[in-house]
Symmetry: C2
Subunit: 217 residues, 2 copies
């Protein structure tokens, strides 16, 4: 069995590897896990001993197959719990992450399996992130950032890149929810902000900052 903390490191390494190009560094891990680089170094040595990561001193880190399997298990649990919290308990998509950070560490194969069934085998969490399969496969999705969509195209909001409550609450306020249709009317040449029409109704101005963090198809 692996500790709480080890699971968090593996999960974080997975996220950083997926997000960044290049190696996952000690510093980036320290930042993500809100610890110090020294602590990360210690833990990397430990994870390497357990064969969960490939690690050469000063050279960054990569998950082994076993490490990735574990990371995806944790991510699967996290996202399934998020669906439960949002769909069954009525929490907002800006609230579910924090609770799921704790729930993801409850270790019972049976529990997550039954929960998955109870929820009807959801494919995506409340932020549009795909849920890894029980076998440990991360579904591939190819979405585009709203900031890349050309004028005149109509797309649908499928997910977010930024998961902070502040960002999600901002989307709630402006009505940019998952699944809503967005017609790109204009792109401002100066600041790259986007003028969009939502659900064939109201028109909205979306900053480039926001558009870069909205995933559409």
């Amino acid at each position: 069995m692996h500790s709480f903390t080890e699971e968090n490191y593996l999960k974080t390494i997975y996220y950083l590897a997926a997000r960044q190009e290049g190696e996952v560094t000690t510093n980036s891990l320290a930042e993500m896990t809100a610890t110090k680089a020294a602590s990360v170094s210690d833990m990397l040595r430990k994870l390497a001993e357990k064969q969960l990561i490939h690690y050469k001193k000063y050279q960054g880190v990569r998950l082994t197959e076993e490490g990735e399997r574990l990371a995806l298990k944790v991510i699967r649990r996290h996202r399934i719990w998020e669906v439960f919290l949002a769909e069954k308990l009525g929490f907002g998509w800006d609230e579910v992450h924090e609770m799921a950070e704790e729930l993801e560490h409850i270790r019972s194969e049976d529990l997550v399996q039954k929960l998955d069934a109870f929820l009807g085998y959801p494919q995506f969490d409340p932020h549009g992130d795909p849920i890894p399969s029980p076998a440990g496969q991360m579904p591939t999705v190819e979405y585009t950032k709203l900031s890349e969509v050309t004028i005149g195209e109509e797309v649908q909001v499928m997910g977010v890149l930024e998961h902070s409550p502040e960002f999600l609450q901002h989307l709630d306020k402006t009505g940019l929810n998952l699944g809503c249709r967005v017609l790109v009317q204009d792109v401002n040449a100066f600041d790259k902000s986007v003028s969009v029409q939502i659900n064939h109704e109201k028109t909205l101005f979306v900053s480039n900052e926001v558009a870069r963090n909205l995933l559409v198809n």
Copy 2:
């Protein structure tokens, strides 16, 4: 905030105080928490410093008001999660305890409140144990042990004193489930075993050991 471990000690002290007459001792805590007496001593000093227990060396231990409030909070979470696992996910009453031991430590007032609402504000957990109120009151129930019921009386199974999976599975096998009606037909003078009729159908012999652990009204 209090640690996982502290919560477990408080909960255990509460249970032992309710179950036993007299003081809760270091040894009984050590047995219940599957640790050694020395570890318990250390923790008691710590809990006393935090004013969660009344503690004089060599003299046993009692929860303070604040300690009891916390213990009941944990027990409430535990039992609500048990209801969820049994009613919504379809786990047996012999399976829910272990998972609830982990879930009870998830700290979000909001979560337990919403879960409670989702479950329709249940009054009892799957073993018939009452669920403490949000304000931290343990409902009083006065049940009788089946072993105390006089011949000819018909009663209903309301709960269990023994919570081990083995005991619960035994009850499942013999059909002695929560809510079933039990008519006491005879009591064996020698071994105090009880002959009962269940739901006006089949007749069953129940050992005194089992009868002493079955709560009826």
